[in-house]
């Protein structure tokens, strides 16, 4: 079976994209990816030197997985059915049932088993989201929001991806809306989303999160040449760049996506001042891009030159100032 009226749309970010496509399909057509991201309070910053993935400290430019989805649903009064399974057979059967009822289903899965990704992208990243919108014989029809077009995967491979092990284990998690709310205003949702992001960026506990986190990372980076061998320092830098640019962020560590959100919010709320703030956020995004560019050059050089790392640290310090100032002013307007 195929759900004919399901529309695939390519998005920058998988979680916002899946949320968007599902809500669009289930009767909320006015949403866009930036709105989902903004209402879901997706923008964030965190640097956790002790949480290491393959020996490299973790940096994030977004809120934890699942939060955007949850928040957008509760703000817009959408009831989602979320299920996970201990046995793969049950999980696949539940998926088939939902598709039989003509319901597109969002699923958490591991990128490692998705063969439509180019080989170099297939890491054990278990918090990827995609949608199944039909089944043809032994193949599932898949709409993966970060891909340009729809695709198909065999049943056993989808099962492996849904029941990947490791952290975080998806346990076959699947979700679809069962009821879309009425009487929830998008204006309030936008306001609340902005408030929440201001709170996250300004009031998160130092030193690891929010604007504190950016400054903290800056200090760490400046000290890399003294603490790490050049190779390792380059690898750590590379990971920051990847988190910022490569992993479906829409550029500049989600900052451009947020700027697009502010611009749409300006029109919906009829507030020209948000338009100006959007432009400022674009500048902040550009500054992040400059940082990534400079970091890539340092990384390529691999000499572990102290002054170049200190410059990068300084750039991050500046970004911390910019974002602190930005969100302080945004908060005052709300």
């Amino acid at each position: 079976m195929i759900i004919d009226n399901f529309k695939h749309q390519q998005s920058a970010h998988c979680e916002s994209g899946v949320t968007l496509s599902l809500l669009n399909h289930y009767g909320l057509p006015a949403l866009t990816e930036p709105l989902v991201f903004g209402i879901g309070a997706g923008l964030f910053f965190g640097h956790l030197p002790f949480v290491k993935v393959n020996g490299v400290p973790g940096t994030t430019f977004r809120i934890w997985p699942g939060y955007i989805f949850k928040r957008v649903c509760s703000e817009l009064g959408v009831k989602m059915q979320v299920q996970s399974f201990s046995r793969p057979e049950k999980g696949m059967a539940a998926l088939d049932e939902a598709l039989q009822r003509q319901q597109p289903v969002g699923m958490q899965s591991s990128v490692y088993f998705l063969n439509y990704f180019p080989p170099a992208w297939r890491f054990h990243f278990n918090a990827h989201n995609l949608i199944a919108y039909g089944k043809d014989g032994n193949e599932y029809l898949i709409s993966d929001p970060v891909m340009e077009s729809i695709t198909r995967i065999p049943s056993d491979e989808l099962q492996k991806a849904r029941f990947a092990k490791g952290f975080p284990a998806p346990n076959g998690k699947m979700y679809f809306p069962v009821q879309t709310g009425k009487g929830h205003s998008i204006e309030t949702a936008i306001q609340n989303g902005m408030k929440k992001t201001c709170f996250f960026m300004l009031k998160s506990p130092p030193p690891f999160f929010g604007h504190h986190g950016i400054r903290f990372l800056g200090k760490k980076v400046a000290a890399y040449p003294q603490k790490l061998e050049p190779r390792k320092a380059a690898l750590f830098l590379g990971n920051i760049i990847r988190m910022q640019e490569e992993i479906g962020t829409g550029g500049g560590g989600f900052r451009f996506l947020y700027a697009a959100f502010l611009q749409e919010a300006a029109t919906i709320l009829n507030r020209p001042d948000l338009q100006e703030l959007s432009q400022e956020m674009t500048v902040i995004g550009d500054t992040w891009r400059n940082f990534a560019y400079a970091a890539a050059r340092v990384m390529k050089d691999r000499t572990g030159n102290l002054s170049t790392y200190q410059e990068l640290g300084g750039m991050l310090g500046n970004l911390a100032d910019l974002e602190k100032d930005f969100f302080t002013r945004l908060k005052k307007t709300l």
């Binding site: 180019p118 080989p119 992208w121 054990h124 092990k165 690898l235 829409g250 451009f256 890539a296 390529k300």
Partner: protein, 137 residues
């Protein structure tokens, strides 16, 4: 970033094109936001290819150590599957300390066919290859 400044740098890794056409949020001449597609950017491509260089080197070092008899082939296939010890332990459904022991060649030799089969299943190789320590690329 403005639309006409968007880079279109191909991601070449392991000598092959690994580009993924992605969505980027950009402004037009009047500062209005929209999306555009792009194949990649030099900075992020470099970061990814560096990460792979590191992985490839780790695999090669482990391969050499397996050939010298310092580690069991499980160590090689673990690196090859981009796993670390906790992840592999979850996949085979064994305690971490047991998997760690299985990395020692002397203990690996004594493993039952059942356990070998479980590892082979996770690594997607034939149990026979694993049992006889064949290194399949």
């Amino acid at each position: 970033m403005e639309k006409d400044q968007v880079p279109q740098d191909k991601k070449i890794i392991h000598g092959e094109d690994n580009s993924l056409v992605k969505v980027l949020y950009v402004t037009d001449k009047n500062g209005k936001y929209g999306t555009t597609q792009y194949t990649g950017w030099e900075a992020e491509n470099l970061a990814l290819s560096q990460a792979w260089d590191d992985i490839d080197e780790k695999i090669e070092i482990t391969r050499q150590r397996v050939l010298k008899g310092e580690l069991s082939p499980i160590a090689y296939y673990m690196e090859k599957s981009l796993m670390d010890l906790p992840t592999l332990a979850k996949y085979v459904g064994l305690w971490k300390f047991r998997v760690k022991r299985h990395l020692r060649p002397s203990i690996f030799k004594k493993l039952s066919d059942n356990i070998i089969q479980r590892y082979a299943g996770v690594f997607n190789i034939s149990p026979d290859d694993l049992k006889h320590s064949r290194i399949v690329p």
